[in-house]
Symmetry: C2
């Protein structure tokens, strides 16, 4: 698999598909993973429909991660632990797993404007506790609206807080540059995912209170060159 491949597990969902579209449009090779290969193949077809010359294929999760330097986890929070556990013989040291999950209370039938407490502190830290040794976990993309990602003709207008160990974090920050309107912001250590994930619940509340169908985003002011 090419060194610039990005695997997106749960790439059939709104946000994962949105990232797949954007990365494919930027010329990166994308592998969409799903629990069922048929659904992954369908999603890949959707990407090809919207992005001419997209390099994209759909595979079962376990196959999608093989050889991909960066694996983005875009499955609902309640499927996160199961998905990662099922990959423990597939992920290898050096791969980067990007956690974009948010422990929204929808996982237990409560609302999307509230989060659950996660024992490890955040979805990202839970993922870190589950991946094989040597696999790097980085937290990113939680606050990016699925709608905005899917509107390929518009820039996304959102900062992406990227948290985790330095070198993998920088590689994920570089990915943000592929998407017009996304700006990577150094989110520090992985534990900051606790805050970043909670911001998603806040943004969902803002969408509701302000009736914003496209999704509210976040920008930090006062950063150098901003």
């Amino acid at each position: 698999m090419a060194q610039d491949t990005i695997a997106i597990l749960g790439g059939t969902g709104d946000q994962g598909l949105g990232l797949a579209l954007r990365f494919a449009k930027a010329g990166r090779r994308v592998v969409i993973g799903s629990r069922k290969s048929e659904r992954a193949v369908e999603a890949a077809e959707q990407v090809r429909k919207q992005v001419a010359q997209a390099q994209v294929e759909g595979l079962e999760n376990a196959d999608a991660v093989i050889g991909a330097p960066i694996v983005i986890l875009s499955v609902p929070f309640e499927h996160t632990a199961g998905t990662v556990k099922a990959l423990k013989d597939k992920l290898v040291a050096g791969q980067i797993v990007v956690s974009m999950g948010v422990p929204l209370a929808t996982a237990i039938g409560d609302g999307a404007v509230r989060t659950l407490g996660v024992w490890q502190g955040s979805c990202a830290e839970m993922v870190e506790a589950l991946v094989p040794k040597g696999v790097h976990v980085v937290s990113a993309f939680q606050n990016v609206s699925a709608h905005r990602l899917q509107h390929l003709e518009h820039p996304v207008e959102c900062d992406v807080l990227v948290s985790g160990p330095k070198e993998p974090r920088e590689r994920v920050m570089a990915l943000c540059g592929l998407v017009p309107g996304l700006r990577a912001v150094d989110g520090g250590p992985l534990a900051n995912a606790r805050i970043v994930e909670a911001i998603t619940a806040l943004l969902i509340g803002l969408n509701i209170r302000y009736n914003v169908s496209d999704g509210v985003g976040v920008r930090f002011t006062g950063l150098p060159q901003s």
Copy 2:
């Protein structure tokens, strides 16, 4: 006391003093409260030095709140409960107490980039549990940089998430309009202070990582008329 008076307890600290300067500049009557009246008087003097014709005075906390429709709590988190408890015979139904405290781990000697867990969920909810019946608690101003507030010649460039019951929340949102560059954003129910307070720790981390002495702010994109 005039109906447009704003009392700022802990108005001798950087952020409280910044708000005092801004509100005084906007022509509002400001009462700075402190545990010691001398310090409050000194802070009021500082405001008068920078803002010609400021209507400002300095009083002990217990005197500062009397008759003020809006009381802003700008004391360090570790002094919040004590300050509110000491006011229980002074605050009266109908007054609005604005919690801007953040449970930074500095309260227990750890770093400002991390927060403590608060039993009630947030500093604001702890305050709500302590005020007399009929006093309204609203959460606001946590994410506003003290430095930016104090640079009177520059706009602040920060959104203020205001959370709490509807009518008091709207009155506090209206205050934001007094400060150039502040924009009030409806932050929903008071429990959202859990997220808003945590954002402050994230902003402090950004200040450090990006070496921003003026303080990073936050803006939400995609809101109507933004």
